[in-house]
């Protein structure tokens, strides 16, 4: 009887329009935030941080970004990997060129650089749609990666062709480089996730979000009723790339520490994030969290069960994982095109009516 909507009436429009209209959800949300900020940092072991928690947080940001583009604005992109690379390489260039620059500012600037590149490659979306656009984003994917591996300026002509992250501190605490503590890295990622999820929520609840969705649902009608497609699409590309760029910056800056464009940000990254968005739920912020969590946890689970417990060879487990993910994508699209988020919503509706289902 805790989870109730009845008696929870809204008397003003803003309160009817808030993020968690049901009181119980609101409490749960604050409890979760409190837990993430105040409890998790002290429980976190290096294993958990590196294999699950930190990649999860970083991919949540990437998934949020791609979801804005595909799920909200309906523009398919297969160039996520390359845009993450832009964020990573911008981070590298900025930290090495301006060593005094605070690292959080660097991450944000890296996001902005990516946004600019995203807009550039988003321009074709004004003329082309659907999978035609997918091909245009593939151009971004392959061209940018080629650029980053071929042009010495981008990796400061390092002999290995890799970029590596110098050490940086925030308030005296080391957050980048191999010596940074799991707690510092975790807190950095958490701050970005919370901040960016909040931005995403704000942008999708108001006019900007509605113009995106109108383009997604019926672009011609949207233009006739007054949506400027140029602005709608380019803002979607910009915001999406900003998110993806920050994710790439974090992935390189605080997680990998060193990277080579082709390996770390290849086309498979694009697909990974795309799958997170599809499985989690197109057009849903919660879905981006669920999808990222699912695809980060799945391989770890498979490894623990199949490789560690049953003694399978690692590559076999990996092939099985590829197969499972593929099957899941098809399954989700057939059963519930809005992914885990929609399943969650349905479950909640059931719960809300329980024990009187009518």
């Amino acid at each position: 009887m805790l989870y109730r909507e009845a008696g929870d009436f809204k008397s003003t429009y803003p309160s009817d329009n808030q993020t968690f209209p049901i009181r119980f959800d609101r409490y749960a949300y604050w409890a979760l935030i409190g837990f993430a900020f105040l409890v998790v940092p002290f429980l976190l072991t290096d294993y958990w941080a590196n294999s699950i928690v930190i990649p999860l947080l970083i991919y949540v940001i990437a998934a949020l970004g791609l979801n804005i583009l595909i799920g909200y604005c309906g523009q398919l992109s297969l160039g996520t990997g390359a845009f993450m690379a832009v964020g990573a390489y911008a981070t590298f260039k900025l930290t090495t060129a301006f060593p005094w620059m605070p690292i959080y500012i660097v991450f944000i600037l890296a996001g902005l650089v990516t946004a600019a590149v995203g807009v550039l490659f988003g321009l074709p979306s004004l003329k082309i749609k659907g999978f035609y656009l997918a091909v245009a984003t593939l151009a971004a994917q392959f061209f940018l990666i080629w650029l980053f591996t071929r042009v010495g300026w981008f990796f400061n002509d390092s002999a290995t062709g890799m970029i590596s992250m110098p050490e940086r501190t925030v308030f005296g605490v080391l957050v980048t480089g191999p010596a940074a503590s799991a707690m510092a890295v975790y807190m950095t990622c958490l701050v970005f996730v919370v901040g960016m999820a909040w931005l995403a929520r704000n942008l999708t609840r108001g006019t900007v979000g509605r113009t995106w969705m109108s383009i997604r649902d019926m672009d011609i009608a949207a233009e006739i009723i007054g949506v400027n497609p140029l602005i709608a699409k380019l803002t979607a590309f910009a915001v999406s790339s900003f998110f993806v760029g920050v994710a790439g910056a974090l992935l390189f800056g605080v997680y990998l520490g060193a990277a080579e464009a082709g390996e770390a940000f290849g086309i498979n990254k694009s697909f990974l994030v795309l799958f997170m968005v599809i499985i989690g739920g197109l057009g849903s912020i919660l879905g981006s969290f669920l999808g990222a969590a699912f695809l980060i946890v799945l391989p770890v689970l498979l490894k623990v069960f199949l490789v560690d417990a049953l003694g399978w060879p690692a590559d076999l487990a990996r092939h099985l994982e590829v197969m499972i993910i593929g099957a899941l994508i098809v399954l989700v699209l057939i059963v519930e095109p809005h992914g885990m988020a929609a399943l969650w919503r349905t479950a909640k509706e059931k719960l809300r009516l329980w024990p009187f289902p009518h």
Partner: protein
């Protein structure tokens, strides 16, 4: 003739033979797109899977041997006999038809009225599934595929093109893999067969009817589901041909499925609904990327093949969104 021109020619010929591969994969795309409006991302992986199956059958490998060994601690790999190529190929075709049937049953049937973009993403899922399945079924190591096609350079071609050097001392004639000449011939036969099939058989006419107008075709009693199984089967056979070509040349390996991606720009050039378009587009891109790389290498560095096709397609899209041979799309409300 000067060295540069001759080398450029050689690059172009090289490109032509890669282009045939692109064309073949693109051909599979077009077939499925015409009949069902589905943009089948899995076409390249289908080629990989078909080639893997063919090799597996030829060698008498036990399917899922790795999986069985890992679960039961056994150590089995082969049945102990080889299947002759002439039997293995029909068997592989049967597998591809079975796959087509399963795809229709399990996937397409449930996604009939979805938007194209959803269907496209579903085929990406399918591609991943099939890739994982192929690796688990037959093992992931690079395999040699030999169906008896001759290997190595073609002496005859080389000798008979030497005069093109017009007295250039350094020129011994163009080098070309014999295999590629075969590929050219086989591709031509395949396209001819397809044309004959679609013009002169009952199923072929049904296929064209569906491609022209879904509703009308349905109303005269053509079974859409049958047509889908049919097109996916044909696409499977085309994939097998592509798989054999590529596999004989560079071994059966994952890179094969990456060709699927190159087929996308090919389709943009050729148009999604045009069979000649797929062929011409494939050749254009194959030649284009080799020539571009040849001339640009000294200036901007090599490996431009990675992106040239996509950039070309992108530039092209901006001016002619419907492709070279495609029909213009008119939007209405």
């Amino acid at each position: 003739m000067s060295d540069t021109v001759l080398f450029a020619f050689e690059a172009a010929i090289n490109g032509l033979t890669v282009g045939i591969m692109y064309s073949l994969v693109a051909l599979g795309f077009v077939l499925i797109f015409k009949a069902s409006g589905i943009f089948n991302f899995a076409q390249g992986v289908m080629a990989l899977f078909a080639a893997l199956t063919l090799v597996g059958l030829q060698e008498g490998a036990i399917p899922f041997a790795h999986l069985i060994n890992a679960t039961f601690g056994t150590s089995i790999h082969h049945f102990g006999f080889n299947i002759p190529t002439l039997i293995a190929i029909p068997l592989t075709i049967a597998v591809m038809v079975g796959f087509a049937w399963l795809v229709e049953r399990i996937v397409l049937k449930h996604l009939v009225n979805q938007e194209p973009i959803i269907l496209f993403m579903a085929t990406i899922g399918l591609a991943y599934f099939l890739e994982g399945l192929g690796d688990i079924m037959w093992g992931a190591e690079v395999k040699r595929l030999d169906v008896g096609l001759p290997q190595g350079g073609n002496i005859w071609f080389e000798e008979n093109t030497q005069w093109l050097g017009f007295g250039n001392e350094n020129f011994y004639g163009f080098y070309i893999d014999t295999l590629n000449l075969y590929a050219l011939v086989i591709a031509a036969i395949l396209v001819t067969a397809l044309v004959i099939f679609s013009q002169y058989t009952k199923q072929g006419r049904a296929l064209r009817a569906v491609a022209d107008d879904h509703q009308a075709a349905l109303s005269v009693g053509i079974s859409l589901r049958f047509i889908w199984v049919l097109t996916w089967s044909i696409a499977g056979i085309v994939a097998l041909v592509a798989g054999i070509m590529w596999g004989s040349k560079s071994g059966v390996q994952f890179s094969l499925s990456l060709i699927a991606l190159k087929a996308l720009p090919v389709l943009i050039l050729g148009g999604f609904t045009s069979i000649p378009g797929a062929i011409v587009g494939g050749l254009l891109i194959g030649v284009g990327e080799k020539l571009f790389d040849f001339f640009m290498q000294p200036i901007i560095g090599g490996a431009t093949e990675n992106w040239f096709a996509y950039m070309l397609a992108l530039a092209f899209l901006l001016f002619r969104p419907q492709g070279l041979f495609g029909e213009k799309i008119i939007e209405r409300v």
